[in-house]
Each structure stands twice: as structure tokens, then as C-alpha cells.
Symmetry: C2
């Protein structure tokens, strides 16, 4: 599916392409998805744009500038996708769950970007409004503003930390991932029940959870939110 001249049928010779920030960002986003090959390099970006790889430097100072612009796009995409309409403001738990799941899903749709973006900070206005909203939900649930801000921070860091870890594994080459599978099989495959009675009893569940980052994240999120629920109960009875 390479670019072709529709009149001659021959591949078009590369000639001064017109680029823009938007076109570059769009092409970069495509490259970062699993279908796009999942690697972001200037070489691949140039090929995707039909331009010389170094042409990108006329629009972004360096790769990190490009990454930060892509990070901002990702955050705004996540903001736009959180389904607030279905939620009333007293459903603090559902609200936080929806936010965490959406942020995670949007990042994991582009693992090659997520691994570069998940621990960066950008000054996105859309995000600021979302933060106020989440803190508002926690405040109305009973937490004082400072504690609500703490819980917001914990939730977002928890989510992005798991994103980074999962994304970093996803971009490893298949043969490397296979080595981890093999190591796991050795580790939990033949546990002598006498020596490791409890581990042996739980090993079926551990095997289920292995390489099942979605389910582990859901479990952690629920357990964490149980802890937040305790904070809220304490704040309500204390105040």
C-alpha cells in the first residue's frame, strides 16, 4: 500500500512534500499504535509522511518536543472519552473507575507513545478542568480539599504507573516476551506441594493473572478504591 502516481502507476518520486505540525502528529500517532508497527523513529516517520526524516526538525525542535505534543493529544483524547453523562456527582467510585479505565485504555492503544508519555507533565487546560471535577466529586463525597487532592494524585499516578509497565512490555519483541513466558512456566509449573503448600494452592489463580494486566489492574483499582472508601467514611464520621 505505498503511494503511487494514479496516472502512470509508477511509485511517485519523492519531491518536496508540504508538512505541518498536524500532519506530523497524526502520522506519529499512527506509528505508535500496534497496527502502525509500534515504534516511533524519525526514519519511520519520514517514510509515513513521504518526506525526508529530518524534515520534522522544521516543525519540532527535537524528539522530546514531538513526544510532549503527542502526550498532550493523548491526555485530551482521554478527557474527551470519559463518559461523564452517565454519572451523577455522588457516584465517586464509578467516577474514579471510569477515569482510570479511560486514561489507561487511551494510553495502551499507543504503547510506543505511552512508554514515553506516562511519566511526563504537560500543561493541558482540558486536564485542569478534569482535575477540578474529580476533586469536586471526592469533596462532595466527604473528603476535605487537601485529602481529595491527595486521592486524585494517587489515582492518576497508580493508573499511569501500570500503563507504563504494561506498555513497556508490549513494545518488547515477541521473542523476548516468549522468554518471560518460559521463565514463568519454570517458576510456577512444578511447585512441590510439600515445600510450597500455599503457593501451590494459589498457583492456578496466579497463572490466570500472569500476563493478564487488565485483570490485575482492575483488582488493584478495586482494592485501592476500597481504601479510599475508608478515608471517606472516616472523614464523614470525624467531621
Amino acid at each position: 500500500m505505498t503511494a503511487q502516481d494514479s496516472t502512470t502507476g509508477r511509485p511517485t518520486a519523492r519531491r518536496r512534500v508540504v508538512l505541518s505540525r498536524e500532519a506530523i502528529l497524526e502520522a506519529a500517532m499512527r506509528l505508535c499504535s500496534p497496527e502502525g508497527g509500534g515504534v516511533l523513529t524519525f526514519s519511520r516517520l519520514g517514510k509515513e509522511l513521504g518526506a525526508d526524516p529530518t524534515a520534522v526538525y522544521r516543525h519540532f525542535r527535537d524528539k522530546d518536543d514531538l513526544v510532549l505534543a503527542l502526550t498532550a493529544m493523548l491526555i485530551e483524547e482521554a478527557e474527551a472519552q470519559v463518559d461523564r453523562a452517565a454519572l451523577s456527582h455522588d457516584q465517586w467510585r464509578e467516577w474514579l473507575t471510569a477515569t482510570a479505565r479511560t486514561v489507561r485504555a487511551v494510553h495502551l492503544a499507543r504503547p510506543a507513545l505511552a512508554v514515553l508519555a506516562a511519566n511526563r507533565t504537560t500543561a493541558s487546560p482540558a486536564e485542569t478542568e478534569s482535575v477540578e471535577e474529580i476533586i469536586g466529586v471526592l469533596h462532595r463525597a466527604g473528603l476535605p480539599p487537601v485529602e481529595a487532592a491527595e486521592c486524585y494524585r494517587m489515582l492518576i499516578d497508580l493508573t499511569l504507573a501500570f500503563v507504563q509497565s504494561t506498555a513497556a512490555f508490549l513494545i518488547l519483541e515477541p521473542e523476548v516476551q516468549a522468554k518471560d513466558d518460559a521463565a514463568w512456566a519454570v517458576k510456577y509449573g512444578l511447585l512441590p506441594a510439600e515445600q510450597f503448600p500455599l503457593l501451590h494452592a494459589g498457583s492456578a489463580r496466579l497463572t490466570e493473572l500472569f500476563r493478564n494486566d487488565d485483570e490485575v489492574f482492575e483488582l488493584v483499582l478495586e482494592t485501592f478504591l476500597d481504601g479510599v472508601g475508608l478515608k471517606i467514611e472516616r472523614a464523614r464520621s470525624g467531621g
Copy 2:
């Protein structure tokens, strides 16, 4: 502190150095610490060993093989450092806290390795015994084996996810880190109190927590363990 010929005082010319797996792993560990420069490349490894960079290939099949061997070392180091002597078996919370803190600290002492190791699996016997022990502590606290195994998995994934995120930021170049600081200042520096009343009220706390990954991790760990505590209570009253 470069190698010198003690009789002539001149730098020794590079001549067939004798290498071993142990010497290579030791040198690699040094490179991965912040003092060691914090980057693991064959070039730097060769320089550290006083040998040609490609000599390492006579002892490890490729870089990933080296990384996995280093990962196993890291896990065993963490195992050895967890202070079990001070803990009785009924202190499930202290036990889990000590494990999480130690695993995190050992990894963050080598950020350049942690970023490669935190989401990998190795078949280390020492770790298997530690897993049995932690599951045992949770079981004695009241959880059935399967739920205990789940909690172990959540704790270790939570810890390593935060490790990966923090380590990935630590190995960024200082100028890049500075960009994040600047973005944060823009984001939370001048929040109009009318528009963002709750965020404004909590912004001092958020600023305290910014780039303070140690404290955020402690807060998340406590909240998560509160959630585990609820599971234990439920299991006790239910059974």
C-alpha cells in the same frame, strides 16, 4: 582512576583481558547506578572492563540475556535485604510494607536497570520461597490461599509499576526533566480561585507531592493496604 602499569606509570595498552560472567555483571551493575553514569551500553561496559565492547558476547548471547541475569541479581538482593527478623508472622501489614519498600529501594538504586527489569520475569528460587512466605502471612491473617495469592500479585505489580515509572523519569536527561518542572509550574502556578476553588485549595499539597515519588508511593501503599485490610476483615467474619 584508570588502569595503569605500576612499573612504568603509563596507561597500560589494551591487551587481551580475561573476563567472566561475574566480572561483567559487577561492572554492569556499577554502570546502572546513578554514580556509574546511569546508562547501560556495550560501549560503556567495554570501557569499564578495559576490554573490547564486543567481548561481552562471548559470555552473554545478547543484551537481553545480560539484562535478565542482572534482573535475577536484583531480585535476590531484594530478598536478602527484607528485614524479616524484626517481624512476627501476624504482622501482615508490616510484612507487606517492608517487602514493598525494599523491592522498590533496591530497584531505584539502579534506575537504568530498573527500567529494563521491573516488568520482566525470571525463575529465581529465592523469590519463590519469599512468595510462599508472603502468601503464608496473608493466609494466617485470615485470607484463603487464592485470595492471598491475588494480594501478593497485586502488591508486587503495584510496587514494580511505580518503580518502572519513577526509574524511567530518573534516567531522562536533566534538561528534559526541567521541561516537566516548567510545565507543572504553568499548570498549578496561577490557578484562579474562582474557576478552580477546590483545586486551588489543594494545590499546595499537590505541589508538595510533585516529583516526590517516595511520598506518593507511601500514600498509595497505605491506601492499598487499607483495602487489603478490608478483605481480611471480610474473610474473618465470613468464615
